[in-house]
Symmetry: C2
Subunit: 194 residues, 2 copies
């Protein structure tokens, strides 16, 4: 008998639809509405108005059944719906990994960007189908839909990395990302939400 | 200043070509010729004849620059060229992770399979473009080209997982995979190479 034990999860064949953002077999699906994004957008009055006006879904995260557990390598597809709050693009909350671990995002459909921040330097990676954005350990990360269609990406990340959302609320991501001229986003230095 | 340090690698935008198996920017490229695969195929005489007859490349692994280091999440594309050794399909050496960590394979082009073995039970996942094969921690894994075209997949794995090839040579993978009738491979119980 070889010196290793069978872990609780079995090998899995997983398929996904890059046009709808679904995974099969399905795991948990997380939905973030505008009201879940308090403190993210610079224009609080415009954010409050959007919450009052139907509290739309801003993004969804559909996971495979692979658990967020030590030793596992879970995957999920995030769909960020298009739109802005007073010109500031729809975005994910953004987080740090309390246990510093790398992560990859693979663009599936639509166009967006990956905003990274190590506490001093913001970096931006243009994302599109087929592009891998590599998030090294220690970099906070947020995704932004910069287009007019849903932006979708597949994430693969170590199951023990964890999510610290509070760090981003406190420290920001270095930049805010606004709709600019044509297809080019406009970046402004981060300012705390009033 | 937030309580984390910038690691040595910066955020990266990585692209890849699923039809040629290349990554950009490029990292190391590993080439395995028939002579590198001693002890893998059941028919040693047929393997020796293939080594003598030009020692063909059986597979290549093209990596991105993300290093195999603690906390990083490297990626690579493996291309297994089509063919058999006395009917036994071209395959990778197969390995265990000495540090048990999950891994994913994402099919890119061609058709193949992912053979997994936990020391007692072999499992098989049919791989094709768009299929994710999930390798849980503790399962040895090998890829097999079951088609007539190059079979390519993207691998994503924790940088501290490591590679133990000796375990597979000693314990096998539960099954051997042969060309069968039509597109269906034929499985035979593992026998040690004489």
């Amino acid at each position: 008998m070889p010196p290793f034990a069978t872990p609780p999860i079995s090998p899995l064949s997983i398929t996904f639809d890059g046009q709808t953002g679904t995974m099969s077999p399905e795991g948990p699906v997380l939905t973030r509405r505008m009201s879940d994004l308090a403190g993210l957008f610079a224009d609080t009055a415009a954010w409050e108005a959007a919450v009052a006006d139907g509290d739309p879904v801003v993004y969804q995260v559909a996971s495979s059944p692979v658990p967020e557990a030590e030793g596992e390598l879970p995957q999920s597809i995030t769909t960020i719906l298009p739109g802005t709050v007073a010109g500031e693009f729809h975005m994910t909350k953004g987080h740090q990994h309390p246990n510093p671990q790398g992560e990859i995002y693979l663009g599936l459909s639509g166009t967006g960007g990956l905003l990274l921040f190590d506490g001093e330097r913001p970096q931006w990676i243009d994302m599109a189908p087929g592009v891998i954005g590599y998030i090294p350990p220690g970099w906070a990360h947020r995704s932004v839909n910069t287009g007019d269609e849903p932006y979708r990406f597949l994430a693969v990340y170590p199951g023990n990395a964890g999510h610290d959302y509070g760090w981003v609320l406190a420290n920001g991501m270095g930049h805010r990302v606004y709709r600019g001229e044509g297809a080019t986003p406009r970046f402004e230095p981060f300012t705390a939400t009033p």
